[in-house]
């Protein structure tokens, strides 16, 4: 017997706990099966890029904090590198190392938040998320120690960082680095082989290799599809060429692989941090940079490996105090472009898992 069914259009969001912010998905359903999805965003649009064109370069550093607010340090770094490229400012070695330490700590904390929310989305409710936030809290405390803020750090400056590391920072960091692998193993034990997680994630929302490349995805989404691409290795910036680490990749490109890549990346970040702490040189924490930044006319695109993928700043300078054009290549937005292909044919409950595994931050999608 066949049942005649009608297609049904429903909205998820803009206010929904699983949309990770103000994001709306218009789903066309056949029963419970998704046959079409149209992402609608712009609810959080703040005109950041236009705003940045109306202020001078230094005042834009706090703006970058507010793009991907779970990885502000990496945003700071990417933007500062772009302006340093325009101005040809030298960054002292110690500052480079401090930046790497901050970026890797931020990557761990962003992945902890990402994985925690993802597990929350697939119904693990609070426990894993609270466990992950417990560790994120320790990292946030380190940031608090360094720059006095817990979310919008505004720590990096053109030519280096705003303040040197306080003396209590390194012992606290070393302690955390010793503990961290144990915590990651704990998540691994708790989650990775849990039968519900396996049933909800294995083979769900497969993103094939070709599509991952054609949709220009980056970061864990791309690496989950089996492509070994990491700007820290493939186009080394800062002092990343001095560290040994691996690029974890998945095989099937499913939700489970994207989760596993994030888990493994945290381990690799701990590895980088250990080396960076060991090699940390003495010296200046900020190089010679003019107080008023006025780059010569020109343009730059500088990209770093953000927690969610390639994070780039395209800045066009016209010789004045303000940028003529300021654009962010935001990984969250571009990773979303592959969403439609990933969810068609799956059920609404799977949509949450797939969407969670992309790990987006709406602050970055709607700039």
């Amino acid at each position: 017997m066949t049942l005649k069914t009608d297609h049904y259009v429903i909205n998820i969001g803009p206010q929904h706990p699983s949309t990770h912010g103000v994001f709306r998905l218009r789903l066309t359903l056949d029963g419970e099966v998704i046959i079409d999805v149209e992402p609608i965003f712009g609810y959080l649009h703040r005109g950041m890029e236009k705003l940045a064109e109306s202020r001078n370069y230094t005042k834009n550093i706090p703006l970058t904090d507010r793009l991907d607010y779970l990885s502000s340090m990496i945003n700071n770094q990417a933007y500062c590198m772009a302006v340093e490229d325009l101005m040809k400012i030298e960054v002292p070695e110690r500052a480079q190392y401090i930046r790497v330490i901050m970026a890797e700590l931020q990557r761990i904390s962003a992945h902890l938040a990402g994985v925690g929310f993802f597990l929350n989305d697939i119904g693990a409710f609070m426990t894993p998320m609270l466990y992950m936030f417990r560790e994120r809290e320790k990292i946030v405390e380190l940031f608090d120690m360094v720059c006095g803020q817990r979310l919008n750090y505004n720590y990096m400056r053109f030519g280096g960082v705003a303040m040197d590391l306080p003396e209590e920072f390194l012992p606290a960091l070393k302690k955390l680095l010793n503990e961290m692998p144990g915590f990651i193993n704990e998540y691994d034990q708790l989650i990775t082989t849990n039968e519900i997680v396996l049933a909800r994630c294995k083979g769900v929302g497969v993103l094939p290799r070709e599509l991952a490349i054609n949709a220009a995805t980056a970061g864990p989404v791309l690496r989950g599809s089996g492509i070994e691409w990491d700007l820290r290795k493939k186009r080394p910036y800062s002092v990343y060429d001095r560290f040994q680490f691996d690029i974890p990749t998945g095989e099937n490109g499913d939700t489970y692989d994207r989760y596993m890549v994030r888990l493994e990346e945290m381990r690799q970040s701990v590895r980088i941090l250990k080396q960076a702490v060991e090699q940390l040189p003495d010296g200046e924490y900020i190089g010679k940079a003019p107080k008023l930044i006025r780059p010569p006319a020109g343009e730059t695109y500088t990209a770093v490996e953000g927690a969610k993928g390639e994070l780039g700043f395209y800045v066009v300078a016209d010789g004045s105090e303000n940028a003529y054009r300021w654009h962010v290549r935001a990984p969250s937005l571009i990773n979303l472009t592959a969403l439609r292909e990933m969810v068609i044919g799956w059920k609404v409950a799977d949509l949450m898992a797939i969407f969670g595994s992309i790990d987006i931050v709406m602050g970055e999608v709607d700039r």
Binding site: T58, T127, M145, G148, A162, M163, L190, T193, I196, L198
Partner: protein, 193 residues
């Protein structure tokens, strides 16, 4: 469906980890009885300005990305700049600290370490025998003027920013002592020259 051999394994493992957590130290803070330990560099929710050391250069006003600082500056009879009025709109302020970094004297404008703007006012109502408890329609604390409520040394020590001479006595977790001592050093050097 997962293979049957995994059935129930995840639950048991989860319970084991939860059981291990029962013996761990609590990390929650009973606010407001217990306060968080903040770092020395914390950028709290006060902007504190010091009239004595300010040279009215307006660098802080220019550095502010959101235009939270408004200054009115004029020249006095001795041709020196002086600040007639300064307002900081804390509703606009994003506590980025750029004004503090831009200040050439290094000591004239600070961010305090206060992170909670709430205070207890009715602390002694319950034990107050003087007839000013709320049941009489008055509260000894609530009818105080703003000036009386403003922090003074006896009530609440200001941040070490503001009183560099006290910075050393403050507990290590509080505030941006660095900025203060740095600015003070610079000033002393200038004076001794």
């Amino acid at each position: 469906m997962p293979p049957l051999k995994h059935f129930g394994e995840g639950l048991l493992r989860g319970l084991k980890i939860t059981a291990r957590h029962l013996g761990r130290k609590w990390i929650t803070v009973q606010y407001p009885e217990q306060k968080l330990t903040m770092s020395r560099r914390v950028r709290g929710t006060d902007i504190i300005w010091d009239r004595e050391s300010c040279i009215s250069c307006r660098a802080c006003e220019r550095a502010c990305p959101v235009g939270a600082i408004k200054m009115e500056v004029s020249r006095g009879e001795d041709k020196k700049l002086k600040t007639d009025d300064i307002t900081v709109d804390l509703g606009l302020c994003i506590f980025c600290g750029l004004c503090i970094e831009s200040c050439p004297t290094g000591v004239s404008i600070y961010i305090g370490y206060n992170y909670a703007n709430t205070t207890y006012r009715c602390t002694h109502c319950a034990t107050d025998k003087s007839g000013t408890s709320p049941s009489n329609g008055h509260c000894g604390e609530l009818i105080r003027s703003n000036d009386e409520l403003l922090p003074n040394d006896a009530v609440r020590p200001r941040s070490g920013y503001y009183r560099p001479e006290r910075a050393g006595e403050l507990p290590p977790q509080t505030l941006l002592v660095y900025q203060t001592t740095y600015g003070e050093d610079r000033r002393r050097k200038k004076e001794s020259r």
